[in-house]
Symmetry: C2
């Protein structure tokens, strides 16, 4: 295995977003769960992106992926329009409303993975239809560690397929609201226990500015978020967090509860940078040194 | 100094609550910030309560205080009605509405402290009018460590007096909403920095199920809350947390950022028990062994 081998495959949406926060409106910016997750993972490991764009996808955005040295052999271009999402954040940034989701070229995307991707030890099934997640999962020859992320949309319209994918994964990353929605239980502890029964050994709950929590059969790990003096755009923070976690796990190679705890620090830190700007703009300027410095700062904030 | 000397004086409301949660309604139960804080502190140190009740205060509730071995020399009984508070929790328990607050005998309470109280090294100015807090503070001869708690009511109607008290304290405990309200800044990090400028060396922000955060001039400590599989009544959780923190600090004697971090574990754990029942009902059955067991469990959940 060489350094250039794909260590992590990420499938998810690749899209163009229009986002309105209380402060600012940005149109047609680069987004999508795969974009965010791949960018985050790229700080730690060699990542290949599985996704599809239309012929309208700007070359400048492809350049952004290249900046992160994301392998693009799994990114197809087909006739049609690129996936689009548009959302509005409320005054406190806690709630957002989806204005529109257009799957466009993603509606019928069922790719054959490049040969190098099939041998990838790590797989992140980012937020996209469970059918596509399942299709990609089936092509990875010997996945060592499979992580799934999802959202309320798929819980609502594709629950049976979603449960099929979840059953075959090692870890699910999910936000508090979705954990309650998927489990049917409003208490987070009970919700996580129910999710553990669905198949994964690890349930990683994302709580935004309130941090994250890792639930295993016999233990729990609680990680506060790095405190920020302002958030510009929280879009993709969950994808960046998950991408950072899986990416740094892939870099280490070994997966254990202990290594996931460490990886959560990195995911959390990259996410803390990600929300400091729209799209991938802050991550494009981010250095590994900045990540390590802020990770050290967070560790000091957790020291008993 | 003997073991029976008062190590911590707590002033705050002593009252009778009527509380409605989505599950249950309880009338005329023992409440008040001093009740909750003293009970929590009593697990760690010798605490004296400063407060006032009317002649209607049930003997059974005085017995509850005796159960915790709270010194009651500072608890006066006067003609009139005991302080009463009534509130309703919304479905998710996150929001509550105050239905009524009747200060009653507290309206004109300006006590002379017992001699033994004046020599107390630790002082907790629990949630009550800033005028009363100031009056009590003025009688402590050589306070080694003074902690203040407050609420939106006092921020609204008695801000100048409140600022006077805060200036003379070492630590303020405050919830997220109040921190924003008092500082005028919605970002918690900036709000805490502003509060540090008001006088205290330590700002301890209470975030309920999302834990707590300690802000000092050059450092931050983040503590997640112990995850619970259900909350029966969150009333007084902030008072119990603060009482547990100050009580365990008083027991150790030494105050440093490090010792406060440890004390926060204890405050957090006692609070996690407190919300498992109405009033002081769970704390009355609580043992020091249970506290230590759950504190160890929490520490394991924080281990990197």
């Amino acid at each position: 295995m060489s350094e250039s081998d794909i260590q992590l495959v990420v499938v998810g949406s690749v899209g163009i977003d229009t986002i309105e926060t209380p402060e600012e409106r940005r149109e047609e910016i680069l987004g999508g769960s795969a974009s965010y997750a791949c960018a985050a993972a790229s700080f730690f490991t060699k990542v290949g992106m599985v996704g599809v764009v239309g012929t309208d996808f700007p070359e400048a955005y492809r350049q952004v992926y290249r900046h992160f040295q994301i392998d693009l052999d799994g990114l197809q271009t087909v006739d049609g329009k690129t996936f689009r999402w548009s959302g509005i954040y409320e005054a406190n940034m806690d709630n957002r409303h989806t204005v529109s989701t257009e799957l466009n070229v993603f509606a019928s995307f069922m790719p054959n993975l490049p040969e190098a991707y099939r041998k990838s030890p790590f797989l992140f099934l980012g937020n996209i239809s469970p059918q596509l997640q399942l299709h990609v999962l089936g092509q990875i020859e010997k996945p060592r560690f499979v992580v799934i992320d999802t959202m309320d949309l798929w819980i609502d319209i594709a629950r049976p397929d979603l449960l099929k994918v979840i059953q075959r994964t090692d870890m699910i990353t999910i936000n508090e609201f979705e954990a309650r929605h998927l489990s049917g239980h409003k208490n987070l502890l009970k919700a996580a226990q129910i999710l553990l029964c669905l198949g994964p050994r690890f349930v990683l709950v994302k709580k935004g500015e309130n941090g994250s929590a890792l639930f295993c059969k016999d233990s729990i790990f609680l990680l506060p978020a790095f405190p920020l003096d302002g958030v510009i755009d929280p879009t993709g923070a969950g994808d960046v967090f998950a991408g950072g976690v899986v990416g740094s796990l892939a870099a280490g190679g070994e997966v254990s509860e202990k290594s996931i705890r460490q990886a959560m620090i990195y995911g959390s830190i990259v996410a803390s940078f990600g929300v400091e700007a729209f799209s991938l703009e802050r991550l494009q300027m981010l250095t590994r040194g900045e990540i390590d410095t802020r990770a050290d700062a967070l560790r000091r904030m957790l020291q008993l």
